[in-house]
């Protein structure tokens, strides 16, 4: 029998390019949402500028990491919305495109569109913080890692909801608790010392602590650097692999 298109299931990322492009087209219509994605960060930057201008550098680094972290929230909302309201998963997954491509298409489509304001933020940060190429690359790597983590968690979470209305409260709670409460926007040492390992094990604050240390804003012991790096990488790899597994598994409802 004849099939056109992808006939076999050997390529894991079949359909990714086209679906990523689809998501970019879909997302790019939301100019207001793109601007609004910078809201919390901008407000905090303004507060810091007024209340503690000396901490502006830290706040900028935090704003970049927070921006990448909250992309997971968009992945959550988008994946749930197109599944519940549009039945896009039925359309795309009952076909040759792979479930991995479906998850990664949503995640990277959102990245491509929502990274634009983050680049603006990075450019502004360059006026406030003077960094070397190596520091810049490290920040980029940390931001990318936080994105992989949050997009994976966001996709997995999206599968638990049957109704869009329930999502908003949970997701904003989750992303604000992990993105604003721990030391992302403020110096790592202002976080209670006894709870330092907790902050170092939460990916957004771990990435922020490492960035703060690399810019000389904060001193970290080598043990703390190790804990933050190992924790960040391990959690990110784990959730990425889990999200891929979960994407395959949730093609079929129980």
């Amino acid at each position: 029998m004849r099939t056109e298109g992808f006939a076999s299931s050997t390529r894991a990322f079949r359909g990714l390019g086209a679906f990523l492009w689809t998501e970019v087209l879909v997302q790019a219509h939301e100019e207001l949402a793109m601007a609004a994605s910078m809201l919390v960060q901008s407000v905090l930057l303004v507060f810091v500028y007024i209340l503690a201008p000396a901490l502006l550098g830290i706040a900028f680094v935090g704003a970049i990491i927070y921006s990448m972290f909250t992309m997971g929230n968009r992945v959550l909302n988008e994946a749930a919305y197109i599944r519940i309201d549009h039945k896009a998963n039925d359309l795309y997954l009952a076909g040759p495109m792979s479930p991995e491509s479906y998850f990664l298409g949503i995640a990277t489509g959102i990245l491509v569109v929502y990274v634009a304001p983050v680049i603006v933020l990075g450019a502004l940060a360059a006026f406030v913080v003077h960094f070397t190429w190596a520091q810049g690359l490290l920040l980029l790597g940390l931001a990318a890692t936080v994105w992989v983590f949050s997009a994976s968690v966001g996709y997995v979470f999206s599968t638990f909801f049957r109704d869009n209305r329930a999502i908003w409260a949970y997701s904003s709670l989750f992303f604000n608790i992990f993105g604003v409460l721990p030391p992302v926007f403020y110096p790592f040492r202002l976080w209670p010392a006894a709870l330092a390992p907790v902050a170092l094990l939460m990916p957004p604050s771990a990435a922020a602590a490492l960035a703060q240390a690399s810019f000389g804003f904060t001193e970290l012991s080598s043990g703390e650097v190790l804990l933050a790096t190992a924790g960040l990488l391990a959690e990110t790899v784990f959730f990425l692999l889990f999200a891929i597994y979960w994407a395959r598994r949730t093609v079929r409802e129980k």
Binding site: R2, T22, L25, D90, L91, G95, R252
Partner: protein, 308 residues
Amino acid sequence: MTELALSSEDLRKVYFSKGAPPTEALAGVALEVRRGERVALLGRNGAGKTTFLKIASTLLRPTSGRIQVFGYDVDRTPEKARPYIAVVPQEGKPFFHLSPREQVYTYLRARGLTRETARARTEEALEKMGLLECANRLSVTLSGGQRQRAMVATVIATEAPLLFLDEPTIGMDPFARRAVWESLRTLTRRGSTILLTTHYLDEAEALSDRLYIIERGRVLVSGTAEDLKRSVGGTVKVLLPGASSMIESFRSFGTCVDDGDALTVIVTPERLGELMDLAVRSKLLATVGPVTLEEAFLRVVGRSIDED
């Protein structure tokens, strides 16, 4: 390779949801669709049509039973079946921020079709579904029926070997529905197989080679629309307004349905003359017409409800 595009045996599905008793949506469905056939699944709301389609299209796990698509076990190796299928989901919608043209094209590309094929198929499908005028408008600005046309265009453009369409013509005007019928006929002529659900019985009759009526997760009857109509005991119906009180006199001719005012009698052509004589003698107006699939459906499903 097998001549069957789809086959199921003793397929069962029980939904377990929190705080509610389990729902048996499929209670042992055996169904076969041969290659190149157009088959309609009919049944009341909640009969299990969508459940069957979702299991067959690898989107829902059955509780037990066997189901195969082109010989591949859908439950054990769903990934083998997926390249051969395409689905119009019930209540699906196109992406609101894509135009129908972008929607169809990007979908075909995501299924791995080449640029040239995707472009040509997109234009063909948009044309068939009467979407050319609004092909470049965002779907958010389209009417309900136009959105549904965009969904159908997306899926028929795949020309997949096996298409599942769950209420594909819902909300469409009579012209658009006929355009869908024509497109589906063209697809089966080109070798595709189609399983669809619909609540429009004229559609089922016009479109399908065979149909299955399911009720409470069980197949009640299957066959052609003609078989089904014959099974209700006649192919002619006589409508007798104001004859409700005379139901007993007409019972001997065949099935009588009394809607409180008019009496409908289903008869064989052989006994029609005799019945008309009685109607004339009783000074009744009579309208004679063919039995429709809708009447057969009401009879068959109604009888099954009465039995329970």
